[in-house]
């Protein structure tokens, strides 16, 4: 065995020598290197002795120029670097300063201004690696900074010029989720002339906003302002709605995402259905309607609500008894097809916007609320459907126990949210919608109703919201501030009325009698987010919201180029902010789609085809599906998909034949750095 293994190793070495065309080690190049040490506004210079470091850099092999600067990232600083490169005929540039994550592109542009290939630049991070973490030992920090610079110089010596890779751009975009954020993103992009596919999981676009009665703080009718936008989406020549569909698979990369979608069968042919509703009238079967929060029913063939877009009806086969009365009612239109099968659709898009929204927490596991046990305890969304004129009760607020109008209603804030045992986050819009409900009740029934709000903090922190809070107070709503702990709801088994109790901050009991209780239950991440995150390979927070690239300055980008976020799936937000973020994501996507080619950094894996044995180890380790073995001629060879490769290098280290290398991060570069830090670098 040992013999065989050593023989194989020998063969590999032999092959490698043949492939590189050289018998011995390649000769070490001797380029002219310049080092620029950044003080970083004192963040580096207060700990690391930058004078000593600059002088030390000058002594390093091949370094012909070194200087210290205060802000090399500023415009003036960059000009200084450009001049120094030209004056000293520098061939490689090292900047010792902050992390390359934010400023590497800046310096690469700077280097290319001096007509040097931008990949002949190297950054030594002496801020995070030296000054930040060794503040107590300035001396040792300086020594470490020296090591870091020495390594960077050793690597810079071996850097090779690279050129960026260009990928084709498909001028189409997919919006996943047709809520108010997705609707705005889709309309903006379509108006800019891009083809938009809106993929919606449910039967109709519109999201939660389509189910609401009024919107705060103006008390506009929700569907009256969203409905026209929904219709616009349906009619726009550049938009195709793919509703009642699931995203199964997304491959590819920015510019060319290959998407597989499953369109679930409605058993109604969308092209033939006019939405007339004759089938619905003929249908004998009703089932609880989710869009009514199960307070009301819908027919086994029906749209979820009257303003649905598309209005194509859907047969729920779980409830349908197949009497085929709908087929008779539809008649010559022949829109009903009981043999419809799920349909798979393949799309190619250049960019993706994720706007899948949120879902609502079911508070029946919070025992103190009595939700699910007491008849007259509702969630906010149930109450919304009660007070809605087009809702199951025709807008009459009535109790479940006896169908009577309540004379007192208590709203309870923060149910499940701001609770470290359930959901730690604040649901952000409950304070406002509770104010909305309270004001609506007061303005509808005036003195005939007593409204209590049990709150802990009233968060009315955007335009016009505080004014709305004042309106609620003036209208006679009673606000009771209680702690989030020790709240309780008890039911009188005879009258089915409820007693709500809590404690003030200083421990005094507060109670109110109410005929009906409405819980502001937590808004929580969409259930499908976990699955979609896996499909799109974008990260989620531990709670389940999508993670933006940078929370302050890139709130709509994800870590994956070409995938953007909009609306509550990124973090809970109300309608105006979801709309704004939808448009923001559209603008971001348009910036990508408007390019004719997409350029990527050339730091992607390269396969030496002479040495590749097609063993597929690389394929199995790659986390991005960026490398695959293909048959080429009579040989199976690994091929890198440049748009997908993130340059992580895992394939390179896993390759048993040593056939994969990372440009400017090859073994040579890394070994040179290791030797430099171990003090065994060549002293040439």
């Amino acid at each position: 065995m040992a013999e065989t293994a050593s023989k194989i190793r020998g063969k590999i070495r032999q092959k490698k020598r043949e492939a590189t065309g050289r018998g011995r080690r390649p000769k070490t190049p001797r380029p002219r290197i310049g080092v620029f040490v950044c003080q970083c506004g004192g963040q580096v210079s207060s700990i690391v002795d930058v004078n000593e470091l600059t002088n030390y850099a000058k002594t390093l092999p091949n370094v012909v120029y070194a200087e210290q600067m205060n802000f090399p990232c500023s415009r003036l600083g960059q000009e200084e670097i450009v001049n120094a490169i030209k004056k000293n005929k520098l061939e490689r540039v090292v900047v010792a300063g902050c992390s390359p994550r934010l400023y590497e592109p800046t310096f690469q542009r700077c280097v290319s201004q001096a007509e040097l290939n931008p990949w002949l630049f190297e950054m030594a991070n002496i801020r995070e690696f030296a000054s930040y973490c060794h503040q107590a030992n300035p001396k040792q920090a300086t020594e470490k900074a020296k090591d870091t610079v020495r390594m960077a110089v050793a690597k810079a010596k071996l850097l090779e010029p690279l050129s960026p890779i260009e990928l084709p751009m498909t001028k189409k975009v997919m919006v996943i989720g047709g809520g108010i954020a997705g609707i705005n993103a889709a309309l903006d992009l379509a108006d800019m002339g891009f083809k938009v596919y809106v993929v919606e999981k449910t039967e109709s676009i519109g999201g939660y906003m389509a189910l609401l009665d009024k919107t705060f703080p103006t008390l506009d009718c929700s569907i009256c302002i969203e409905g026209p936008k929904m219709v616009d989406v349906g009619r726009h020549p550049n938009i195709e709605i793919i509703s009642y569909a699931d995203v199964l698979k997304v491959d590819g990369h920015v510019g060319s995402f290959k998407v597989k979608i499953r369109k679930n069968p409605r058993y109604v042919i969308a092209a033939n259905c006019t939405g007339c509703g004759e089938c619905r009238d003929a249908c004998p079967i009703e089932y609880p309607n989710y869009a009514d929060m199960y307070l009301g029913v819908r027919k086994a063939i029906s749209p979820p609500f009257g303003q649905a877009v598309p209005l194509t009806h859907t047969i729920n086969r779980e409830y349908c008894i197949e009497c085929f009365k709908c087929v008779d009612a539809c008649g010559a239109r022949e829109a009903i097809n009981f043999d419809q099968k799920p349909e798979e659709i393949d799309l190619e898009v250049g960019a993706i916007i994720v706007s899948i929204g949120y879902s609502m927490y079911n508070p029946s596991d919070l025992e103190w609320t009595g939700y699910g046990k007491y008849d007259n305890v509702f969630t906010a969304l149930e109450f919304e459907r009660l007070i809605l004129a087009a809702g199951p009760t025709g807008g009459k607020v009535v109790r479940a126990s006896d169908g009577q109008k309540p004379h007192s209603v208590a709203f309870i804030q923060c149910v499940g949210s701001r609770d470290i045992n359930r959901y730690e986050h604040c649901s952000s819009f409950c304070c406002m919608y509770t104010l909305k409900h309270a004001v609506m009740l007061k303005e509808k029934y005036r003195d005939d109703i007593e409204v209590y709000v049990f709150y802990n903090d009233m968060r009315s922190n955007f335009k016009g919201y505080e004014e709305f809070y004042n309106r609620a107070q003036k209208s006679g709503v009673k606000f009771l501030r209680v702690k989030l702990e020790n709240r309780k709801i008890l039911e009188d088994p005879q009258t089915k009325s409820l007693t709500v109790s809590g404690e003030t901050e200083d421990g005094k009991p507060v109670t109110a009698h109410a005929d009906m209780v409405v819980l502001a239950n937590a808004a929580i991440p969409q259930q499908t987010a976990t699955e979609l995150a896996k499909i799109l390979k974008i990260p989620l927070t531990p709670e389940g919201f999508f993670v933006e690239c940078q929370p302050k300055i890139r709130p709509t980008d994800t870590d994956v180029p070409g995938i953007f976020l909009a609306g509550a799936c990124q973090g809970l937000k109300d309608i105006p902010y979801s709309v704004a973020q939808g448009s923001a994501a559209a603008a971001q996507a348009a910036a990508v789609l408007s390019k004719n080619v997409w350029t990527v950094e050339p730091l992607v894996a390269q396969v030496n085809e002479e040495m590749c044995s097609g063993c597929r180890v690389c394929e199995s380790v790659c986390g991005y599906n960026a490398i695959a073995v293909e048959n080429r001629g009579d040989k199976a060879l690994a091929r890198v998909k440049e748009g997908l490769c993130r340059g992580c290098g895992i394939c390179s280290s896993a390759c048993p034949m040593d056939a994969i290398s990372m440009p400017n991060y090859s073994d040579r570069h890394i070994i040179a750095q290791v030797k430099a830090v171990m003090g065994r670098g060549d002293k040439t």
Binding site: G296, I321, A400
Partner: protein, 296 residues
């Protein structure tokens, strides 16, 4: 938010409920009337109903099979209510017994043809009431020789499986009953285990099954059998009891759901026959309409 549902199961009654804010759907199964036959479980389009044989304890009579309904599958359509021969199931909407599938003519009711002729009733009140094995006949006022008035009799038709026992037991012409389920039943006595009377124990119709004197084996009287299949459920030997429904008399309503139900209750042959009949009827009618021919 989840749908509020209720399921209550007692020895007397099984109740399923959808408690919606604006509507209430309720299904109740009267366990006293239920005989544990096959009809509802076969008819249910959602396969929500299970009929289970009860374990037999030594020396006791075989208990009737127990019906259980899966709340998650039930859609409160009411087909079980319509077809139950014994009227044991009631589906109500807002506590009213009016089924949308009947009102919208989406499912036909079986036709119970029961004619009562008070002229012919005997004087003995007990004789009249005892004539029904299910005690559905009640005498409100007996025959009075003094006033020469006829008997006033009430028959709870909705619970009547139309077994025809009363027709035979009472004087000729007092009751006239037509079956609404037709079929075939046969017991292959050579396969029956010795002393087994399971089918007889559960049969709700006195006289439909009986014990033969000579070998103590159960035999069939086809005249009274209503083909509900309770016996079929409890029979311990494969193939000993053969039961097949061939026809169900119903209102003339076209319905896909009915066709499927009929196929499950009878056989593909049964449904083919019915469709052929309907088809030729329809063809005949359309020919009549067009050509103006009279007769068939």
């Amino acid at each position: 938010m989840p749908l509020k549902t209720v399921k209550k199961d007692t020895a007397e009654k099984l109740t399923l409920e959808w408690v919606l804010h604006v509507k209430n759907y309720k299904l109740s199964l009267d366990r006293n009337r239920c005989v544990g036959c096959q009809i509802c479980s076969l008819a249910c389009p959602k396969e929500a109903i299970k009929v289970e044989k009860q374990p037999k304890s030594n020396g006791e009579k075989t208990r009737k099979p127990k019906v259980d309904i899966d709340l998650a599958k039930c859609n409160f359509c009411g087909i079980c209510d319509i077809l139950c021969p014994y009227g044991a199931v009631k589906v109500t909407l807002d506590n009213e017994h009016s089924l949308p599938i009947i009102e919208k003519k989406c499912f036909p009711k079986p036709l119970r043809d029961i004619q009562v002729n008070p002229d012919k009733f005997p004087a003995d009140q007990n004789e009249i009431e005892e004539a029904c094995p299910l005690h559905l006949i009640r005498v409100l006022a007996p025959v009075s020789e003094r006033t020469e008035s006829k008997a006033t009799v009430e028959v709870e038709k909705e619970y009547c499986p139309c077994c025809r026992v009363c027709e035979i037991k009472l004087p000729l012409g007092a009751m006239q009953v037509r079956k609404f389920i037709y079929g075939k039943i046969a017991i292959h006595q050579e396969k029956c285990p010795d002393g087994c009377t399971d089918c007889l124990d559960v049969c709700p119709i006195t006289g439909a099954l009986f014990l033969q004197d000579k070998d103590k084996k159960v035999a069939v009287n086809d005249t009274f059998c209503v083909y509900c299949g309770a016996c079929r459920v409890v029979c311990p030997v494969e193939g000993a009891l053969e039961l097949e429904r061939t026809r169900i008399i119903h209102e003339p309503i076209r319905s896909g759901a009915w066709n499927k139900t009929l196929e499950r209750l009878t056989s593909p042959v049964g449904i083919a026959k019915e469709l052929k009949n309907k088809g030729s009827l329809k063809a005949r009618e359309s020919v009549k309409k067009r050509v103006g021919l009279k007769g068939g």
